[in-house]
Amino acid sequence: MLDEISGAPVFTGERSRAGYRLNRMAMSLTDPANRAAFVADETDYLHGMGLSESEVDLVRRRDWKGMIEAGGNIYLIIKIAGALGIALYEVGAHTAGMSLEQFMAQRKGR
């Protein structure tokens, strides 16, 4: 079974199962009212969506790499970032173990 390609997790059924609650919470943010509730009180919203303490912690710490490792799908996880006004580059760089500045500097060097 394909599980990883060049250091990127492949979003398998197993990952989808592990990340189910996290991804479901992320999808809920396609509703503007839910985005407002999330931004107003993150912890309360995340508990209300049934996330575990470790999942709440990943979101609170903006640990995008950790969210992907916990079964987050990138297309869902960027909805969390979107609600918080954080851009894809910052999320992606973090999943690669870099800061946004490091990522941009590396790109310039290419």
Binding site: A8, G13, I68, N73, Y75, K79, G82, A96
Partner: protein, 276 residues
């Protein structure tokens, strides 16, 4: 009888729709891409199409992993735009053609393809991001969206998607009305949105894909998922969505337009073909 009169492959992305909406097509970073859509739009209008079949993938907007369809066929009169988490673009809902959708459903199932049939369905940037560059945003041409799971593995094989395009052609040609159909395949090209290779694109692979899709597409249907993801990124596997478009056109095609540009973290491609 219906006829397939054209095929268009296009990248889709949340990024370039809003760039277009803001009228920044001439921005030097984007102009090489947007300029390519202009002659294709002129050609498409001159074709006088009656219907667009759009093969794309949803990004956790219409479908969630509670029940994620491998193939989903729209059969609605209207397809609202999905809010993907950052608000909608200022665009009207898209029009559908449920009569054709149900004809397509019957024919696909006769052909041993079994899509989930959706009488309510929103569409995301997989359909809408590039559409305003190719047609009037009052949407004069109805669409039939056809969503393919390329995000939760196991995903369908490339060969299956190629055969799907051949089934589209049979379905169009058995339609009693004289309609002119353009098939779209959208997604890709190379991009990697997470993990150690974040930001990866491969213009060589993307251009090889565009070359082969035009002139000798069948071997692309034999490539494995591993090959698509190693060469184009785990998210770049979306480019398999272009295979049904190409297969629907039949063996020989004439190229109308082709553009490639990789300004950010996605290899953007556009390919317009006519059957001969």
């Amino acid at each position: 009888m219906g006829r397939i009169v054209g095929g268009i492959g296009s990248s889709h992305a949340p990024s370039f729709g809003p760039v277009y909406d803001k009228g920044q097509q001439k921005d030097p970073m984007w102009a090489p891409l947007f300029d390519g859509y202009v002659p294709v739009r002129t050609w498409l209008e001159a074709l006088r199409p009656d219907l667009f079949i759009v093969v794309y993938n949803d990004h956790g907007n219409q479908f969630f992993f509670n029940s994620y369809p491998t193939f989903a066929l729209g059969a609605s009169e209207m397809y609202p735009q999905a809010d993907e988490g950052w608000g909608k673009r200022d665009l009207p809902d898209m029009r559908g053609d449920p009569d054709f959708s149900w004809h397509l459903a019957r024919n696909l199932i006769d052909d041993e393809f079994d899509p989930t049939i959706c009488q309510e369905m929103s569409v995301d940037h997989g359909v809408m991001s590039f559409m305003p560059m190719l047609t009037d945003t009052r949407w004069p041409v109805p669409i039939v969206p056809f969503a393919v799971n390329v995000i939760q593995h196991p995903v369908p094989k490339a060969r299956r998607l190629y055969k799907l395009g051949q089934a589209f052609r049979r379905a169009v040609e058995s339609y009693p009305k004289d309609i002119r159909v353009v098939v779209f395949g959208t997604g890709g090209l190379s991009h990697q949105l997470q993990g150690a290779r974040f930001g990866f694109t491969d213009p060589d692979w993307d251009n090889e894909f565009l070359d082969r899709l035009e002139t000798d597409p069948e071997p692309l249907a034999a490539l494995s998922h591993r090959e698509y993801m190693e060469r184009g990124g785990t998210e770049g596997i979306e480019m398999m969505n272009w295979l049904p478009m190409r297969a629907a056109l039949g063996p020989k095609v004439k190229r109308i337009g082709r553009t490639y540009h990789a300004p950010m973290i996605t290899g953007y491609g556009l390919l317009a073909l006519e059957p001969v």
